[in-house]
Amino acid sequence: MRSFIIRRLLLGVLVLFGAVLLTFVLTRAIPSNPAAMWVGPRATIQQIKAARVELGLDKPLYVQFVKYVGNLLKGNLGNSLRSHQPVAKELKSALPATMELVFLSTIFAVFIGIPLGLISATRKDQWVDHLSRIFSVGAVSFPTFWVGLFLQLIFYRMLGVLPLGDQLSTNVKLLYTIPHITGFLTIDSLITGNWVVFKDAVTHLILPGITIGLYPIGLVARMTRSALLEILGEDYITAARSYGLPERMISWSYALKNSLGPTATVVTLSIGYTLVNSFLVEAIFSWPGIGSYIASAVVCLDYPAIIGVTIFSACAYIFLNLVADIIIALDPRVRV
């Protein structure tokens, strides 16, 4: 078990190195001119040349790569070409907003997705199953950004009960001091007992939360259903039935427990999807997270910012894959 985790960790490091190399190749393969971007549109040729030296772009590629990796190891992702601020700092301040969405959607996936899959599997081919299958296949077929727009249209424009976007209303931002402890707005305002801010933050969280939660719910429900169906056909389930155990007990404690491996895996992986889906959702709800950050970076080709987000997300994804593999390995049946 331990040797498996160590081997898996080493592989993770190797893959991470490869990912860094790949992003580096990407930035150098582009037909654009970062130095010109750095000094702005009115710069002279001399200034651009000076900027090339300043950014180290005149050095051979391998020197640039070594320097780049060295910086990465120190947690330095370079400076944004637009704001000239360190990308790592900007990412750090944008991250909690995104994590709030990711947490919420994971909660949805676990507490709605899994029961939905379970109900579906235990009532296979009944109308509940059909309904939940249509819902879950529909949930993964909707364009996320379109769902967001329509929730805005219904709840903001037509019903007028929920805000259009952003994390807080403008008047709340102006009139109240916004607490900064963990960076998570809902948690911070809850800790400090700042109810007005808390309520405002929660109402702003509802629409983006639902939008981004839809896909993981569908994905997890589908996966749980198919994993359970396979297990419900096993001999020990038939045995449990023949002992006369109540159906509820069989499905919840026998079958569900045994399907937890694949289900946990898909939940972990859906966190990765959610992270990327947040790029689209944040763009719609003007949510000040890393999604809005990369979307605006893409528009003006701020490559250190794009690479920063890419490397960060790849790290998160590699880590989540590692967790998923370890969860699978915890199952004594697959232990080698």
Binding site: L11, L14, V15, L16, G18, A19, L21, L22, T23, L26, T27, A29, I30, P31, S32, V137, G138, V140, S141, F142, P143, T144, F145, W146, L149, F150, Q152, L153, Y156, R157, L229, E230, G272, Y273, L275, V276, N277, F279, L280, A283, I284, I294, A295, V298, V299, L301, Y303, I306, I307, T310, S313, A314, Y317, I318, N321
Partner: protein
Amino acid sequence: MKTNILSAKAITPRIREFKLSLFLLNRNKLTRLALIIVLLLVVIAVVAPLVVPYPTHIDRDNNPQAKLLPPSSHYFFGTDELGRDIFSRVVFGTRISLETAVLAIALSLLIGIPLGAIAGFMGGFVDDFIMRITDIFLSFPSLLLAIAISAFMGPSLKNAMLAIAISWWPWYARLIRGQAISMRERQFVKAARAIGTPPLKIIFGHIVPNCIAPVIVQASMDLGGVILTLASLSFLGLGAQSPTPEWGLMISTSRNYFLDAWWYSFFPGVAIFITVLAFNLLGDGLRETLDPKTRKL
């Protein structure tokens, strides 16, 4: 003559298998519906420019005096901010989405199949090397990699397609590698090797044709996901550029107007949803009927 009879004999069980699959596919109502929708979409994509009411609204003409009109008998889906008929544009968008998605998948198959087959057949160092490369590509969420690649290549429909292909091929390489490994020990491959067939000829003449079926199934299942990815890229401004009537781009442009003109974003979104849903349902059906474990006779 003799070889003909032999090959006919060899092919009969496959035809029977194919007919059986078709029968099973057809028996599931949802799958049949999905199949019909997919076929319909293909027909629409082919004939699109001939049947739309305002073919010039697709990418040439503006019609500013009729801007942002709600759906009516003249404009079934209403008009956009330049007075173009949204119905014509959504219908034509079918062609763009399907064409680009099919090309992207074809391209990733073109990269993935040879690499996967070589890795599986050769084994050893070559296998390790190729598989570590796929691991690296798979360590990025595919949409993120596609975003990064198309951001760096410059936004256009062609680059979005390339970006998708570059981020999807590792899945096919993995799939076909697994198949190729099981093929490697089969008698006919050993026989081919024994009579001195060169490795590349074995790979492309014997291995690939015999393990391509599951890959094709997987690829057709992936079409929905690719269409969605393409729309997402266009929505972020990284795919199709104006005035191309691409669904994701239309929704992106509609963001400035949709609070007062719901039809503008509604219909392109429904088009994406129906297309992706049809491919996903078809994929589910294919998987259930072709997988002997879940197949019910």
